[in-house]
């Protein structure tokens, strides 16, 4: 691994990002316990400089990582969840949504933005795990559907960055049908020959995996992400024994033929750009 060099480069060549981070903020790596200054962590794309642990980040961070000069236009930002089933478990669904909105400052678990990545126009749908576990309800389904349409109509490559526990149970069958809806839209994109890069991050499971996340022209994963259809706990309960080490990891999926390649977040932007340039130079 050459992270030393990247970190060093980052620190000496690009300091402007640091402006956005208040001084004196530190993060402790959940894996190796190394403490890193927040500004250095941002510089290193939220990857631990010491053990390469990929911190869980949201749409804000991914947009800043991928878009040139952190410039982008958000699309469909006004879409919010309804409560089609008048759902209440231990708490009403509407209250759950409100709480999550207040806590995260987000409208729902996915944001769409368009801008340039190393000079190439792209549209990105990115999930926020902090919003009810990145669960897929009508809002996520609709925004993904629209981002696919946007890519198709404008002939712009599409990225979907998945980070989701799966379906949003409080929307029950509405949630289920988002799988069919998004996959059907991808079938249309397919016919237009516009590339779709599916980026799988930790975790990508359930209904997201069983629809658009696995349908990329390229399925590309961050290292050591959990990616699967059934959750590990369910499988463990079903088979009645512990799961093998590395089961359902990015590396496991690549080994079994379901991921094209694994890319560290620090190299993601450049590698995706290279790939897009190889296959999709504008006529």
């Amino acid at each position: 691994m050459s992270w030393f060099k990247r970190v060093a480069d980052g620190i000496t060549t690009k300091s402007k990002e640091k402006k956005y981070v208040p001084d004196g903020l530190w993060e402790k790596c959940p894996r190796c316990k190394t403490i890193t200054q927040m500004s250095d962590l941002v510089e290193n794309k939220h990857v631990c400089p010491s053990c390469s642990y990929h911190y869980k980040i949201g749409s804000h961070e991914y947009f800043n990582i991928l878009f040139d000069e952190e410039k982008y236009k958000e699309l469909y930002a006004d879409i919010e969840s309804g409560d089609p089933l008048n759902f209440t478990d231990t708490k009403p669904y509407t209250a759950r949504i409100k709480d999550s909105q207040n806590k995260t400052g987000l409208k729902d678990a996915l944001r769409v933005a368009t801008g340039k990545m190393n000079g190439v126009k792209i549209v990105v749908s990115c999930m926020d795990f902090s919003f009810i576990g990145g669960s897929m309800g009508s809002v996520m389904g609709e925004k993904i559907a629209r981002s696919i349409d946007y890519a198709r109509e404008n002939h712009i490559p599409l990225l979907i960055i998945s980070k989701s526990g799966g379906a949003r149970m409080m929307e029950a069958a509405f949630s289920l049908m988002q799988m069919a809806k998004t996959s059907a839209k991808l079938a249309l994109l397919n016919q237009e020959g516009v590339p779709y890069l599916s980026i799988l991050t930790d975790p990508t499971t359930g209904g997201v995996t069983a629809s658009f996340a696995m349908l990329g022209d390229f399925n590309i994963a961050e290292p050591e992400a959990l990616i699967g259809f059934a959750g590990p706990r369910v499988i463990k309960e079903t088979i009645g024994k512990d799961l093998p080490k590395g089961f359902q990891s990015s590396e496991f999926l690549q080994e079994h033929g379901f991921v094209d390649f694994i890319v560290p977040r620090t190299e993601m932007k450049d590698k995706l750009s290279t790939l897009l340039k190889q296959i999709y130079s504008k006529k």
Binding site: D89, E142, A167, L176, Q178, A180, S183, G207, S211, A230
Partner: protein, 323 residues
């Protein structure tokens, strides 16, 4: 010997009474025919009353009734010349999904369905109707065959979910289902899907993207089973009835929310009381739906199919509710 569910107790008791009366009648000493006729009438009334007012959880129980007809039961009734086709051409033949061509009153259909087993041995053989990736890939292979030979497709949905297991994950359960969703959206032939029992989650939807998606009267369809929903949201298995209500998983709810296209009625008390009649009703419905669909061009079919699924969802935009 019929298996009665809790809420069918009054039916069970009356049937027992009726049997006793009939026994006495058979002995020939006393004429019981009037009493028998009256009790039979009463039985129908009480059945009507019970089955008209079933709640979500009761419908879930009926959908899993051990005597309920499964895919092959319907298939052999509605398409007696059915030829089963096996295998995904890659790994193996998944026994939890069956498929093949068969003629329904003169029209060839590709018929594909989840298949459950009737006894312990069969249930294991069929993996409880829970397909592995190769099941979905077999289904897609057969659907593509139907498309090639321009034959309509009928799928019968009856699964507690796609199989969760080591091999399923290794062979890409998610990818297999996802691929079916995408490919089914653009099939050039009419696709009719009918939930005949349990419609659990992606495992059901994996053969459920159609021009017409129907549910039989005593079935359910949702993103998760009431039991699992209870365990996740209430952190206990005890709230399954509550979860069943909350999920709005009955045919009426699903139709009301515009997530399915129609409901197919069942014989009084459920399909298992009269499988032949249930099959006849199913056949009639399929023929009717096919008649509507066969007039459409492939382009129209695909356009309308995608449009239908695209409209599913409930959200607010600029504070306007759209559903």
């Amino acid at each position: 010997m019929t298996n009665y569910l809790d809420f069918e107790k009054p039916v069970e008791e009356m049937v027992e009474q009726l049997e006793k009366l009939k026994e006495t009648q058979a002995k020939g000493k006393v004429d019981m025919s009037d009493a028998i006729a009256e009790l039979e009438k009463k039985l129908i009334e009480i059945k009507k009353d019970i089955y008209r007012n079933l709640n979500g959880w009761q419908k879930v129980q009926l959908s899993r009734h051990p005597e309920r007809p499964y895919s092959l039961d319907y298939i052999h009734q509605i398409a007696p010349d059915f030829i089963e086709l096996h295998g995904d051409r890659q790994v193996k033949d998944d026994k939890a999904i069956v498929g093949g061509f068969g003629t329904i009153d003169g029209q060839t259909f590709m018929i594909i369905g989840h298949q459950k087993g009737r006894n312990t041995k069969e249930r294991q053989y069929r993996n409880f109707g829970m397909p592995n990736p190769e099941g979905y890939r077999k289904a897609l292979r057969l659907m593509k065959l139907a498309e090639k030979f321009k034959k309509p497709i009928l799928t019968l949905i009856d699964t507690p979910g796609a199989s969760p297991g080591l091999e399923a994950e290794e062979r890409g359960q998610g990818e297999a289902i996802a691929k079916n969703l995408m490919e089914m959206a653009v099939l050039k032939v009419p696709v009719i899907c009918v939930v005949i029992g349990e419609g659990a989650s992606g495992g059901a939807l994996g053969i459920g993207v159609g021009d017409r998606v129907m549910m039989m009267q005593y079935t359910w369809y949702s993103v998760i089973s009431p039991e699992s929903c209870s365990s996740i949201l209430w952190r206990s298995w005890d709230f399954k009835a509550k979860a069943a209500e909350a999920l709005k998983l009955t045919p009426d709810d699903m139709y009301g929310n515009k997530l399915i296209d129609g409901i197919i009625s069942e014989p009084l008390g459920g399909a298992h009381y009269n499988p032949a009649e249930a099959s006849e009703i199913l056949k009639k419905e399929v023929k009717k739906l096919y008649k509507e669909l066969k007039e459409l061009s492939p382009e129209d079919l695909i356009h309308k199919r995608i449009e239908k699924f695209s409209n599913m969802g409930s959200y607010k935009e600029n504070s306007n509710l759209s559903a």
